[in-house]
Symmetry: C2
Subunit: 438 residues, 2 copies
């Protein structure tokens, strides 16, 4: 994309209500604009980030055999009456009446609907397990929406639901999902540590929140450094094998990790001092086993091996996709602006033409740009170099390819890595292979 | 995907309210399920079709320089009061009150919101033209939703909006979009003929509907056969050149085409008799120039070349993405089931293992499947061959790779083209290269 024609309105000043870095930077860099309280439009660069996150989430869901569906945003109240949640849910649920005065709602989550769809489709235990997910906009009518996309009202979420015959099957589904989550967050370029969460009346240890470590996080976190040293992508886990899944699960849960709510001083004191990490975290995911809560309440059964009706064991698994954009920024920015991890960046590199109109500079920039127009944001504006440096740092693409008249005459490009500030003088070919190759 | 574990519930009997072929077939094949009146969940195979359509629409929008954004589903009533449409819009608009009793609505379209976003971002005529689009769920509270996704209440639409300095600029934007639409529909495997539509008080000839030809269409259509003989993808139109765009536009509009509403018997009589085509059509797109209607009403201007405020000239351009799934099926099916065009099919081929458990058959099927697991639906169920033949025809993938014990022993696959019924005996390699290569 050429910046001169891109719809990327950058702001010098941001509204006072933007209290945290991610909110300020998303507005300044032209990623989002608020359209109503807690509701945002995603401008092209912001949408590219959102789509990159979606893609990675989707690939890792598919890798564990989850199947993607798409449920609608609006649901009928009657469906929620079947589980008893319609009356129980608070004012965060947006309740709607259609032209025929039928009661509806904007879905804040989809347990009821997926259980109903499952029940219509699946009749025998032989067809289990099933794991279904979708990535869809949800609405929660927060009393005081704030922090931009971190606590918005209309937000994008990936929610998955598993259906198993037995408790053991549900545990395996849960563990596969934990693996998918750890791999997803690692690919997104953030550290998200799984922490035991409250399981309510269900009990057991099958509820984990995933928190991205960032100073502005809403929860205090305590964890063993072992958890941030693991390379989940490199670990060879056989997801079809129960023992392999168990070994993996034990590796994760064997290290201490808890939010302040669940913190246990005694267990914490047993972690070697040099491995204790304290900080703050932003919740970006939650996985939860809840057994037959919905299948029983809604009367959804399949025929078991003895032909008797059997209520499938369920779990649900959420990732806050739009929230993650904010969380990644909270974890990765500096005074000058955004610092995108490679896999989520809107573009892989910015091309900075320091002197538009200089024949050699223009020629080099056009050569660079032509190599991958969809991967580069080409700053072809006739602004001063200083403006371009500042904007490139603000927009935070992983690489900057800086072209000035002096270097251009020699066919050289200055390559800057945004995260480290490291700079290299390279030929056009070497710069391209460095940026596009890795 | 292996059919034995796919979430693809096929139905023998369909609800009586499914009156048209696309609705019946989408239910029978397990593409969608209704969750409330006029609201549908998309099951995995249906979602794959929807995503394929989205991808093609997106690629052709990007190809003419349109930039993708994503606006939220909910909008504030105040925004619509600025254009005067809040009170004018009928009961199809779903009106909502949030917990603070603020008036909101589920967007049926986005002229107001995009004009507002444009006005916040673009300050000078130098930054024009701009063409912005999004692909987002909309809601229209139809009095009597019917025909499945053809007239649903929650539906997926691509809507684009152009902003130009002058009328001539707006005409060029309009013509580029017409080209993008013709190419989009051709790639989708359907013929969509552009027909002059009513421009209301604006006048002129800059309003066209695109109708897919199908016997169940809601409108009668009359058109010159020349319009279905054109290969829009092969035509060399320079979208940066006004004269080239004009020549293209004249080629399109030089041939007669009208719906019954706009039909002109006199002009029709001038079309050579052997070139007259009459039939019915389903509206899947609409492009419309409306000048400064919204920019003036909402007070959105940019500074012109003389520094005086200038109200940009706008057009809007819609494609019914979810409706297209139904329209494509109406245009392409037979008694036995769906017949997917290559580019939109959920899978490129079905693999039919006629005797699961036969070592040679299993081995050949696994070899085929391993070649492209994401492109094939492998029927590995232990059902009879007859069931598999029927289901494969119902699901309508472009190719069927049929493997029985006799052929398998010789390493041969029977390849069937769904659309024509044509059959070929081929080796595994030849079958794969035929199916994956073209």
């Amino acid at each position: 994309m050429r910046l001169s024609s891109a719809f990327q309105p950058m702001l010098k000043e941001v509204p006072a209500e933007a209290q945290i870095a991610s909110h300020r930077l998303m507005l300044r860099a032209g990623l989002i604009r608020q359209t109503s309280s807690g509701i945002y439009a995603w401008l092209p660069a912001g949408l590219r980030v959102l789509r990159n996150i979606e893609r990675i989430v989707r690939e890792e869901q598919n890798a564990i055999g989850a199947q993607e569906v798409l449920m609608p945003t609006l649901q009928s109240a009657d469906l929620w009456r079947r589980s008893g949640r319609y009356d129980a849910y608070g004012p965060e649920m947006l309740r709607i009446k259609d032209r025929h005065e039928r009661e509806m709602l904007y879905g804040p989550t989809n347990e009821e609907m997926i259980t109903d769809l499952f029940g219509q489709a699946i009749k025998s235990y032989r067809e289990l397990p099933q794991v279904l997910y979708h990535i869809q906009w949800k609405f929660r009518d927060e009393l005081r929406p704030r922090f931009g996309v971190m606590r918005g009202r209309e937000f994008l979420m990936k929610d998955a639901y598993s259906f198993d015959v037995t408790y053991e099957g549900a545990v395996a589904s849960y563990r596969r999902m934990m693996l998918a989550y750890l791999r997803t967050f690692q690919r997104l370029g953030v550290r998200a540590v799984p922490m035991v969460a409250d399981t309510g009346p269900i009990g057991g240890n099958l509820s984990h929140e995933f928190l991205v470590l960032a100073p502005t996080g809403e929860s205090g976190v305590f964890y063993d450094a072992a958890l941030e040293e693991q390379d989940w992508l490199a670990q060879d886990v056989d997801i079809a094998d129960t023992a392999s899944l168990e070994a993996f699960f034990n590796r994760v849960t064997g290290s201490y990790a808890a939010t302040d709510e669940m913190h246990d001083e005694k267990a914490w004191s047993e972690v070697p001092e040099d491995r204790r990490r304290e900080g703050r975290g932003i919740e970006v995911g939650h996985i939860f086993y809840f057994g037959t809560k919905y299948t029983e309440a809604m009367g959804i059964s399949v025929s078991g091996s003895d032909s008797a009706p059997l209520f499938p064991q369920m779990g649900s698994y959420g990732i806050g996709v739009s929230r993650l954009v904010g969380a990644i920024i909270e974890a990765s920015h500096d005074e000058a602006g955004l610092i995108w991890p490679d896999e989520v960046a809107p573009y892989r590199a910015a091309i900075l033409n320091l002197k538009v109109g200089d024949a050699a500079s223009d020629a080099i920039c056009e050569r660079l740009y032509a190599a991958a127009p969809d991967a580069f944001l080409y700053d072809d504006r006739s602004d001063r170099a200083g403006v371009k440096f500042n904007d490139a740092d603000l927009l935070g693409h992983p690489w900057q390819m800086i072209v000035g008249p002096r270097g251009a005459k020699e066919g050289m490009v200055e390559l800057k890595r945004r995260a480290t500030g490291e700079r290299l003088e390279l030929s056009v070919e070497d710069a391209l292979s460095r940026v596009l190759g890795g």
